[in-house]
């Protein structure tokens, strides 16, 4: 590789480190870093005292069972990722930023040099990620070194394999046989659905038994050979000969894939350029607080105007347009995921009331959904000036901003409740109705808190590359604050409900209503807090 590109990599890494240090020596950065380190330490330190610690620490499972699961399911998972790459590849295999395109594509470098440059940059990132994975993989692999090697080589493989598969498919797209892509996928899909239905119908077999049989059959072994190599790295424990053999195999596979990527690059460079530009636009949009996904259509049909409602209508209308045009795919994915919750819980055999399922649900609704589907103030940082100038009362602006976001999240919650009601015997219709009633104020509370924090401490929604400690620390602290507020609100509602029940000694309807009204009252207070935060928001300070 050209020495200048190597020099650039070193300078960029040094520059990245410099920025992280600058973050850490600021008061805010130091506090968030401390918060993150403290919380991680608490999680690690308390794993022996938490009754259901297996939620966080797979080492507390039976090691042999874990060993068998990794051996069976990791190759299948890696194969699934490859197939998804081929089906869903819309972006470039190696992403070059506009700066790199303007500087490096114009510079005296060969395409091979540029691919190697990008690969080394990725490898450095993979090294950092592998170091973070060590605590989780060490219990399985036996030592820090083996955990690092296994994680590092596997991360490289995932990137190179995705790149090679995506580029091979792009190069193949002009071929007449490429038309068979969707019919082939349809056949695979039908086969997969058939397997799930068969597993659900058979009393003595689950879908995991079928997958296990496929993995250990001779045909499965042949198909999965490259993926088995990387699985064996995690299963090597401390046997040096075993590790050395699979390690060398893994390195050879990665080298072969890198060679394939360099060879395929010449055939896909123009497509790659176009995809790079599209991906860069997406990142720019996200940096501005917009959505990663956005319609690529040039002309779109307008959505009928909402009633004015003293100002709430137009604000909500704008967010609705944004949701429809930019987030429809994300919304569809979340609704499908929610709809699958019931069948999935039934197939896996974990009741929805199980601690693990409840923790996952909480994480889904309080962290993943609010971080992914954004149709409120958080996506409007660059438009705050406009909101500040509007002749509409602040509380109406806040309500308008929240309406669409809350309704969308509520639809996802309702879909999940219906899905679980249909497939879970323990969930009765009255309980489902109560859940549906309580879900609305709870959802409202989550987003009111989320927006209040954002308005009080505005920040970017995307991390500044890998190891953005301030961003990670902030995300953890925000999540904890949100959880505490939700816990207090739910406890207050439950307390009022219980008090009503104890006092009136009646059915659960009146206590339920009392609890629900308490939740409504709390969401009202949260709206007042959000309105205060919006009034206090200073546009100029947020654009540093």
């Amino acid at each position: 590789m050209d020495a200048a590109l190597l020099k650039l990599l070193v300078m960029r890494m040094r520059g990245g480190l410099r920025l992280r240090l600058m973050q850490v020596i600021s008061l805010r950065g130091a506090l968030f870093l401390l918060a993150m380190v403290g919380i991680v330490w608490l999680l690690v330190a308390s794993r022996d005292t938490i009754p259901n610690a297996e939620l966080l620490d797979i080492a507390r499972f039976d090691p042999e069972a874990i060993h068998a699961r990794i051996s069976t399911f990791m190759p299948l998972g890696l194969l699934g990722m490859t197939l998804l790459t081929v089906v869903l590849t819309t972006g470039p295999s190696f992403h070059y930023s506009p700066t790199e395109i303007n500087f490096l594509f114009v510079g005296p470098f060969s395409r091979r040099d540029l691919i190697l440059y990008k690969f080394i940059a990725y490898a450095a990132g993979a090294g950092l990620s592998a170091a973070l994975i060590i605590p989780f993989a060490q219990a399985q692999t036996g030592s820090v070194l083996t955990a690092f090697l296994a994680a590092f080589l596997t991360l490289l493989f995932v990137q190179l394999n995705s790149a090679a598969a995506g580029m091979a498919w792009q190069a193949f797209e002009g071929n007449r046989l490429a038309r068979l892509k969707w019919p082939s996928m349809a056949v695979l899909f039908v086969f997969a659905v058939g397997a799930i239905v068969y597993a659900a119908a058979a009393p003595d077999q689950t879908i995991f038994d079928l997958l296990s049989e496929l993995r250990h059959s001779w045909i499965g072994t042949v198909i999965l050979i490259p993926y088995i190599v990387f699985t064996e790295l995690f299963l090597a424990r401390t046997q040096s000969s075993h590790l050395a053999f699979w390690g060398i195999m893994a390195v050879l596979i990665n080298v072969a894939l890198l060679w394939a990527v360099v060879r395929l690059d010449g055939r896909t460079s123009e497509r790659s350029l176009k995809d790079n530009a599209r991906l860069s636009d997406r990142w720019e949009r996200m940096k501005q607080g917009g959505s990663f996904w956005a319609t690529e259509r040039i002309e779109v049909r307008s959505i009928p105007n909402a009633p004015t409602l003293a100002g709430v209508g137009p604000i909500a209308w704008r967010q609705a347009i944004k949701a429809v045009r930019n987030s429809s795919k994300v919304i569809a994915v979340f609704i499908v995921v929610a709809a699958c919750a019931g069948p999935l819980a039934a197939v896996v055999g974990i009741p929805i009331t199980d601690d693990r399922a409840l923790v996952m649900l909480l994480f889904f609704f309080a962290f993943i959904l609010p971080r992914t589907l954004i149709c409120d103030f958080r996506g409007d940082l660059s438009r705050m000036e406009t909101y500040k100038m509007l002749p509409i009362a602040p509380w109406r602006i806040c309500m308008g901003q929240l309406v669409v976001q809350v309704l969308l999240a509520y639809i996802v919650a309702l879909t999940m409740i219906v899905s679980v009601l249909l497939f879970e015997d323990r969930l009765t219709a009255p309980v489902a109705l109560a859940l549906a009633l309580f879900a609305l104020p709870l959802t409202f509370l989550i987003y009111a808190v989320e927006n209040t924090i954002f308005l009080l401490f505005p920040a970017k929604l995307v991390p500044m590359g890998r190891a953005d400690f301030e961003f990670l620390g902030r995300a953890v602290v925000e999540f904890i604050v949100k959880m505490v507020i939700i816990l207090v609100a739910v406890s207050a509602a439950a307390g009022v409900g219980t008090f009503t029940f104890m006092t009136l000694r009646t059915t659960w309807v009146l206590p339920g209503m009392a609890g629900w009204l308490t939740m409504i009252l709390i969401t009202g207070l949260a709206t007042i807090a959000m309105q205060y935060a919006f009034r206090r928001f200073v546009v100029a300070e947020a654009f540093d």
Binding site: D2, M11, R12, G15, L19, T99, V106, G107, P108, F109
Partner: protein, 246 residues
């Protein structure tokens, strides 16, 4: 020397540039003008090797950009319309990288001189993300000039610059041309062409509508006021086809 022969570029069947041919000799400054979507940036990006041509030949200092890209790029400087720089690097680190990329030995003195000429000396160790757009534009130009390229391509070079910056960059362009560089400037600022360019090419819908020396193009429209003449020439040329189509 920049030479373009029968260059065409198609995107999914759409012809962004059709059969374009022209030459820019050392010392000449060619102004590339045309409405949005005329094919100016596509032509510049093809000359840089960022986008491959669909057909035709493009060469920089007698090196074909497709067949001998590295030799061609060694003689090329490109200043894009949006000066994107590496956020985590300082101004000096950009120059250091450029020197390494183009194998410029003992670059420090010329780099210091460039920083002085663009009044960037005091920003030497500043991270580029802290610079204004105009400053970043100057850094991009300094990087493009560092290896003394024989061909320089400017895409909207004056956007975001203050009057001092505009004057210093115009001066730098003249100096580079007088030292023998072949220069192409793409811009919507007709006054820039008036003061700088020796030649003019008017593009519209991917086709060349006029190509010649500045004085020839202006003389064709016979106006005494030069600014009005260029403006009149531009509108007449770009609207000729549309009128013809009606």
């Amino acid at each position: 020397m920049i030479k373009v022969t029968n260059f065409s570029k198609h995107y999914n069947g759409f012809a962004a540039v059709k059969d374009l041919s022209f030459t820019v000799a050392p010392g000449q400054i060619l102004g590339l003008v045309g409405p949005n979507g005329a094919g100016k940036t596509t032509t510049l990006r093809a000359l840089c090797g960022i986008v491959p041509p669909t057909s035709g030949h493009l060469s920089i200092a007698d090196h074909d950009i497709v067949k001998a890209p590295i030799a061609a790029k060694h003689n090329l400087g490109y200043i894009p319309d949006d000066p994107r720089l590496f956020d985590t690097l300082t101004v000096w680190e950009h120059l250091a990288f450029t020197a390494a990329a183009y194998k410029v030995a003992d670059f420090e003195e010329s780099a210091e001189e460039l920083l002085r000429s663009f009044t960037l000396s005091h920003k030497r160790d500043t991270l580029v993300h802290n610079l204004s757009r105009g400053m970043r534009q100057k850094v991009a130009i300094a990087c493009a000039f560092l290896h003394n390229p024989k061909a320089i391509l400017f895409d909207e070079p004056l956007t975001g610059l203050d009057p001092d910056g505009i004057r210093s960059i115009q001066q730098a362009i003249r100096e580079r041309a007088s030292e023998g560089a072949a220069i192409i400037i793409s811009s919507h600022l007709l006054s820039l062409f008036e003061t700088l360019c020796t030649h003019l090419m008017v593009l519209n819908l991917g086709e060349c509508r006029r190509f010649g020396t500045m004085s020839d193009v202006l003389a064709e429209f016979g106006q005494s006021d030069s600014n009005s003449a260029l403006e009149a020439a531009y509108f007449t040329i770009t609207q000729e086809k549309e009128r013809g189509d009606v």
